[in-house]
Symmetry: C2
Subunit: 393 residues, 2 copies
């Protein structure tokens, strides 16, 4: 028996363990320091009431002979697909057929698993800095990855610029940089992908943070996207489902390559290697998209956005270059005095007792940047910004 | 962009759609016929009370700031791993370290996804008849599959018999045949796999139906299994979780190939392409393994086993050859008068108004056999057996 030797080519990332190590050492030496953690990439607000009630109702149903649900459709129940289709119409005027929507246990699973339906000989393009999952999942399959540099100059929203590739990963609003593509920029990407017969894997996990009218919430707002794009989204950031687990993937009817429907291939993949999402979780997700549910989850998103606004104001006052904060829970900013990421990480921890995430951990182009998130409490966010202003002004 | 062309080699299976079509036609022609469906491969009893209460409690927790759970460990919470480790000790005296246990959304997912860590050049051996997922997932990856014939002669529990291979799939108690390997038979398989440096993928989804002391409930009861076997199990049949979704996979510390720990590779696969099982579902699963929970789920299993016993008695009286029924919710029997599977399917539907699953749908060696399941109600099972006795005695 031979292993998949591609696994030996995956780069070990020590980013978060190194952050944890430095924090541990600092706290051991300074046990009374009032540390504020702003590296958190996870939501912190509780699930909305509508979801909680829906889960309890579904649990009761499952305990009765009449309400019991066994195996469901691998691609998800229609009641949830209908709710998601209606959400698309409401938020982006995009109309989807139910068979184009696939329910899953989260965007991370689908972003990894979708690669099953593509040949191993495709060239993959990611933007740098990058969400490591895009790179690692392709390395596991033996595919070569090309990095498209992001920078202050392109506002961390790089354009194709003639790059060769078969599969393009775009994440907008971006993790980790918080940058988001405008309508015109996405149109350029869609036209480019179609011209090459390439595929865009569009990660829209942060779409619910978008406020600007000029930033599309779905790539299908762009003409031509239905022939080149697969969109991944989840309720993790939209409704605080990071621990509840529910996502959805859109594979349009029009997406055909080598004469095969990618939607049919994905359906085949899912019916063979997946058995659907828990009935309870699908009911919880459905509840988020009711009028009441939407009002409740919007309240949580507004809470995080208020934090992000406080951070933007601070960096505006300091005159530091940053992306995100608007349309995103992430603020990605240039370290002052040309410090590199780890030097500033240590400086910020020591002087302000604030923990961020060094940008260099997300790729070469992240060097000299730091990421803060809006997922802490309002009080902590205000306090952290006050400290930063006082120290670095 | 090129697709994964291996998908075009997957055999389309029309088994269940053809069953549905013939049933539809029969019912259209005979609208008053009292049809009893005994092809059901899904549980029908409601979730146990302990699980329902655990889910409701977890839902309430998730609705509070203090009880909220975001991202959990991809490989599952320790509270559930500890419950599963204790279950192993109780049911099979097998001791597992927590890092050897991986929680997932079901055995089907893991059985498919585990292939990620193996090279594509391995030869795969399955028994015929076979659960189609073993074949299709390998076909998708371009691997060749060897079929090991089962038959009346080997009691549908085939032994290695010198077959060449790198990855052996064993399912015991078996789906679809209900046959189960004895301790001595499994020992032979384990020794054989170790002698070849091969891997056994052991599907024990039906372990909770085992009653005979001589049938191991876990492959790790067999000496040597820790260096050659990965075990997949789930709460689907054990606790009626087919719609709730929770399974677990055991990858022992001792499992090393090409100098690499398969456990570390699987951990890497899961942390990269998976984000863990819903906190609620993990709490529901934990509740099944408490003293109270075990008593409740055992009651459901006993219900199905009583059905199976009624079926065994019937086939004993008729003198028909069958496997399963004992240690399994499936009864796999030889069609009378040497009828082929579809001929007898039609005969049984027409004369007894009972629906089974034609054995030929699970592979060449299933021709001439039919599968019935114990998942209907007791009353329907008794009625169906009465009809069969009356017609075929």
């Amino acid at each position: 028996m031979h292993i998949n030797t591609n696994y030996q080519n995956i780069a070990e990332t020590y980013l978060f363990s190194e952050v944890a190590r430095r924090l541990r050492e600092f706290q051991a030496a300074n046990p009374d320091a009032p540390v504020i953690k702003m590296g958190i990439g996870d939501v912190t607000r509780p699930l909305c009431k509508s979801s909680v009630e829906a889960m309890k109702k579904a649990a009761d149903e499952m305990g009765t002979a009449e309400g019991f649900h066994g195996y469901g459709p691998e691609q998800g129940y229609d009641f949830l697909k209908e709710a998601i289709a209606a959400y698309y119409v409401k938020t982006s005027s995009v109309k989807l057929a139910l068979n184009e929507i696939f329910i899953s246990d989260g965007a991370k699973s689908d972003i990894g698993n979708i690669l099953d339906i593509f040949g191993d000989d495709n060239t993959v393009v990611v933007t740098d800095p990058v969400y490591p999952v895009y790179v690692d999942t392709n390395t596991m399959a033996g595919r070569s990855v090309t990095y498209l540099p992001s920078s202050e100059e392109n506002g961390f929203a790089p354009m194709p610029n003639g790059v060769k590739g078969d599969i393009f990963y775009l994440c907008s609003p971006n993790n980790p940089t918080g940058s988001a593509y405008t309508r015109a920029q996405l149109k350029e990407w869609v036209d480019y992908a179609n011209s090459l017969d390439a595929i865009i894997l569009f990660d829209s996990a942060y779409e619910s943070f978008i406020e600007d009218k000029d930033i599309p919430r779905s790539i299908y707002e762009i003409e031509g996207a239905r022939t080149c794009a697969i969109e991944f989204c989840s309720l993790s950031k939209t409704a605080g489902f990071t621990g509840t687990r529910c996502g959805y993937t859109v594979v349009p009817d029009d997406l055909v390559r080598d004469g095969q429907s990618l939607q049919k291939m994905w359906l085949r993949r899912q019916t063979t290697k997946f058995n659907g999402v828990s009935y309870l979780v699908q009911r919880a997700a459905e509840a988020c998209f009711t009028e009441q549910g939407l009002a409740e989850i919007t309240e949580n998103i507004q809470y995080y956005k208020r934090n992000a606004a406080v951070m933007c104001t601070t960096f505006d006052e300091l005159g530091w270059f940053y992306t995100g904060g608007h349309n995103s829970p992430y603020i990605w900013f240039k370290c002052p005095d040309n410090m590199d990421s780890w030097t500033f990480f240590d400086d910020l921890l020591k002087k302000a007792n604030v923990v961020g995430t060094p940008g260099c951990g997300f790729g070469k182009c992240g060097e000299g940047f730091l990421r803060l998130t809006a997922f802490n409490t309002y009080e902590n966010t205000v306090e952290a910004m006050e400290r930063i202003k006082k120290i670095y002004k």
